[in-house]
Symmetry: C2
Subunit: 662 residues, 2 copies
């Protein structure tokens, strides 16, 4: 997960006899993109054609669906250019430049700690982010690597007019569903195409990936370009223990219960399935990912290695008197912060974060926006900085459909969990529920809100404080009634947990720099990284060897006809026309993590050979450390993509665009 500007070229040359040139690196970076919300992508034609995973665009497909036409189930193909349909709220970013702003940030935060440190950091970041322009086509983010070890300003070209071009049926895109998720061998056609537009025309994207003619083979050196979301490889043992013993045991059963609620909701019918498929996928995926992380932390060998690393690091610090003086006590301080976190986290999650739904998110934005906007930028919550306010309307007013059933389910679940976690005697719980049951409360809340309508949101957005204060919308009134407590719980948590933890982590990260330099790559931060590795199988939990490729024939063998192993009609019909030996999915040693979904896999020529969509079960511990023996990335083979587009879908317009580019 190296940054493009600190790629270890010499290491790669030494190991593989291949030297990635500066132009190779630029070509790959400029052909790559990021999807706001948590995915990666690549440009695959000069006319803004973008490839990503199906599961990265399924939200759009779902939003374009109606009760009459379920595009998630049926798939989508824009036969003509004018059939391409805009994806509501979809944002695509391409990284164009990186400036080192470490000195600026350091001088702004010098000598500060606690809340003052966090405030000055946020102010400096907001100022820097706003400095490169406030148009929708430009996005600038301050990115901190090595937990505050360095600060960079990332300049992105931003596309907010993104249209759906092609998506296969859910049944083949996520073939094997949850049981096969994070498993390999695997057989998924997890691909979709969208197109970036500018001024109502296909965007010009001169840098794009050419399709490899030959594809890959075992042991090939391959590169993955993407935006790994988040790793915690520098965490202290006390922080890891806190995740293992406090956070995970709280979140996992909550996700499992929500999963059960949604599964049973889905049994009510096809419409209920359509409404909640994306949420259920998200919940199941999160559950499995966190379970995998927790398993790694429970593994005495893995955890023992983390303990040994920290011991070695502490010893190295102790040998340097100056370092020992500044950070020698920081591990104990971090451990103390974990105890405070254990006390405050439950209230923070329940009250400061609140229900995980669109309606709640919108209502909170509507309530807070006019209040925050009236303040000087430095005093605002960071998500209301000037740069953020530019895209706020796009997110708030996107025509995303809202379904009362699942919204009610989610609010009911939140209220029940909050009462369970804080207790029925808690004043916040009493204030929210009054004499109502959680179910009744959620029902009344959803019945009395119009925030599902874009027009209602726009009126409140335009009307500002006066409109919000006068609104009788139940959701607005609920959010307004708890906002003071939500802000206060958040402030306390930031003051006593987030802020000291960040400060201590930064100090330890800088100490680590002083000792180890950049011989390791920084934790993932959902920004552009390049990983190298080889196409390779592994040995599974039973001790059996797993080969790195699956085939199209294997896909048909696995298809039972029952969900989640039911192939759509298109694939059943095309069986005879497809070469059963075509490579379907493959595994490689690239170090990836959530956020890498949709990342292109390229060969030494910089040509496209695959599309990352998953990791194997062992890769989940990768959040805390990479284990080269068994961690594997899982990709859809470029040859299968082309065969599918051509033979199964007859998507000739896309095929010829790809091939003329290639």
């Amino acid at each position: 997960m190296w940054t493009f500007d600190a790629f270890p070229t010499a290491k790669v040359t030494a190991a593989y006899g291949f030297t990635p040139s500066k132009s190779f690196l630029n070509h790959v970076r400029e052909s790559s993109a990021r999807i706001a919300g948590g995915c990666s992508a690549s440009f695959v034609s000069p006319q803004g054609l973008v490839m990503t995973n199906h599961h990265c665009a399924v939200g759009c497909v779902e939003q374009l669906s109606t009760q009459q036409k379920n595009l998630v189930e049926a798939g989508f193909y824009a036969k003509r250019a004018e059939d391409e349909v805009k994806c509501p709220g979809f944002e695509l970013d391409r990284l164009d430049a990186v400036d080192d702003v470490t000195a600026t940030v350091r001088s702004a935060t010098a000598g500060k700690s606690g809340r003052a440190f966090l405030d000055s950091l946020q102010t400096a970041e907001a100022k820097l982010s706003s400095s490169c322009g406030k148009t929708e086509a430009i996005r600038c983010d301050v990115v901190s690597l090595y937990h505050g070890g360095t600060y960079d300003l990332y300049h992105y070209k931003r596309y907010t007019d993104v249209r759906l071009v092609f998506a296969p049926e859910f049944g083949v895109a996520q073939f094997g569903g949850d049981p096969d998720n994070f498993n390999f061998p695997r057989y998924d056609f997890d691909v979709s195409f969208v197109r970036a537009y500018e001024g109502d025309k296909a965007a010009a994207t001169p840098e794009y990936l050419h399709w490899s003619k030959a594809g890959s083979k075992p042991a090939d050196l391959v590169f993955v370009s993407g935006n790994p979301g988040s790793t915690q490889r520098l965490l202290s043992v006390s922080q890891l223990t806190s995740i293992r013993d406090q956070a995970d045991p709280h979140i996992l059963p909550a996700l499992a219960e929500l999963r059960g609620l949604l599964e049973e909701y889905q049994t009510q019918g096809a419409e209920q399935q359509r409404e909640t498929n994306e949420t259920l996928f998200f919940i199941e995926n999160s559950f499995k990912a966190i379970t995998g992380e927790q398993q790694a932390l429970f593994d005495p060998v893995f955890f023992g290695r983390k303990v040994a690393q920290e011991r070695a690091f502490r010893a190295a610090v102790a040998r340097r008197p100056a370092l020992q003086k500044t950070v020698g006590g920081d591990w104990d301080k971090l451990a103390a912060v974990q105890l405070r976190k254990a006390q405050l986290a439950t209230r923070y999650v329940a009250i400061a974060e609140g229900p995980f739904t669109d309606l709640f998110r919108w209502a909170r934005t509507l309530v807070r926006y006019p209040v925050e906007k009236a303040k000087p930028e430095a005093k605002r919550l960071p998500e209301y900085g000037d740069a953020r306010l530019v895209t706020l309307p796009q997110q708030l007013l996107a025509p995303i459909p809202v379904y009362p059933g699942p919204e009610e389910l989610m609010f009911n679940f939140w209220a029940k969990k909050t009462r369970e976690d804080l207790g029925a005697d808690d004043p916040f719980v009493k204030q929210v529920l009054g004499t109502k049951s959680p179910a009744r409360w959620a029902h009344d809340l959803i019945a009395g809100t119009k925030l599902g309508d874009v027009a209602a949101r726009k009126a409140l957005y335009d009307g500002g404080t006066a409109a919000v204060d006068a609104s009788q919308d139940t959701m607005i009134r609920f959010v307004a009634s708890v906002d003071a407590q939500a802000r206060s719980v958040r402030k306390q948590y930031e003051d006593e947990v987030t802020s000291p933890e960040n400060k201590l982590s930064e100090a330890l990260a800088r100490a680590r720099f002083a000792i180890l330099g950049t011989s390791v790559y920084p934790d993932a931060t959902f920004t552009a990284r390049l990983s190298y590795g080889t196409v390779k199988g592994f040995t599974d939990a039973n001790g059996d060897a797993v080969t790195p490729y699956t085939t199209v024939g294997g896909l048909y063998n696995r298809a039972t006809g029952s969900e989640p192993y039911a192939l759509p009609q298109s694939w059943l019909a095309a069986k005879a026309s497809l070469d059963s030996n075509t490579a379907m999915n493959f595994s490689s040693t690239n170090d990836i993590i959530g956020g890498n979904s949709g990342s292109p896999v390229v060969d030494k020529a910089g040509d496209l050979v695959g599309l990352i969509f998953d990791g194997n079960i062992f890769s989940l511990g990768g959040a805390f450390g990479y284990d080269a023996r068994v961690n594997r990335a899982v990709a859809l083979d470029s040859r299968a993509i082309l065969a599918g587009l051509r033979t199964v879908y007859h998507a000739d317009r896309v095929v010829s665009e790809i091939e003329s580019g290639g």
Copy 2:
């Protein structure tokens, strides 16, 4: 949790200046009873009137309900003796005598280990259990205390004709529902009355508890007589770690998901609620109990104490060369067994235990019964020993209603979990599901079985192997098709985990005897125990003092009118007639655990002052160790019971029976 025959009278005298006499102990023991399935109870009149918790009899109330008449919701009162209704499958046991059979068991198992040890132990136990008679009115169990440190033969008087006399409405019995469960302050009327019958007449029970006139007050010495189900206070650190890091993280999310499924199933209507209330209660209760246990194990102070205890024990063993030679290596061996357990437990739970439903349990019994019966007793699975076969028909042929919806839900859940845990490529999974989805498979299975009818079960029971082999019932065919694998997985688990673990635990328990003697009480084994303690409050997690009594007035204050804080009409109507100062629930320092539900609380006179129904949240760690500072038992006050019976329910027949006894 002392046994009646090793009660520390001297200790109690020294601490409280009160000496429990032999006749006091006999009176309490003979007035106490056990409900097979996991509860405790007491005789409260000479005519077999038995008091226990509502939640211990709710299964019966549910079974007596119909779609037209929901007795769980409405409550039940037999105005006349002839209105008392038989509870299907309800078994009540009273402990009458205990024989020490340690020598017999030791000689049978001498020099054996592994499977041979387990086999000879089971054979000896089966022989001893059968030795005291094979009539339904006698039950004999071999009870091992101190993990095989001693063996006793418990003689019970068994009542299988048990009839429902009184049960309040669910809404007040379990007022506060899941959010208040394991919490205090508390306000539950969790009581019910049943009656033991013999020869179609009320059983004569000359020993019974008299109702205290005065009730209890703070700091009073009180005794709890009951059958604590299971504690694991002698577990090694490796065993505790296995529970914390392997078992709990697997079971808790599974329970949470099942909870979500049932919660959403209940939203479909009142009938769906009625069908699943008991199961949902069981799931939520288990989830909270295991969560509490896991929290204790995650607590560094608590776990550190266990580590220190083991270190001290190992050191004490090391100081005794003879002991060191025999058991010095057993901790490492136990740790090795835990690793094997981690590998085998998932398959064991999925295949050997199987789905948790009545239909599955019955089908497995029907398939196995004729096969096992044909073997000599020593070769049978222990649950088919001669003594067990006596009650098998009662359990198998009880007219318990079966609901297709929840059964289908449970089988679907089992199939999904099994595929998730073992993987879609597992041969067992492939054999069970074939090309079906779990939902389809479960649907077909339930649609094709008649085992919900007692007559169908009876025909197969009577018909033996020939009838089972010829049966086309889908459930029978499913169970038969996986029985060989279920037996083989069970055998492997017993050979490699259960058996060596038992053997090692026994060896360590005997070593512990040699060092500590009986200065500590044995782990709970769902057998008769007596606990002493005082009526006392505690300090809650926020540092606030909690007083030991709640009042009837507090119940009304807490009633919001919404579930689970909605009082039934009977209580709302009686409000003015009740003294709001009447003690409702109270907390005491008695050491109790699941299985103690329904235990009587008696004063120094041996009179009834309360009815145990719960423990506070801190008591959950009691599975592994009692913490006198915060562990509290929670009881329903005897004064509230009488006030409720008299003023709310006008249950004059029960009141006068109690009062004439008192």
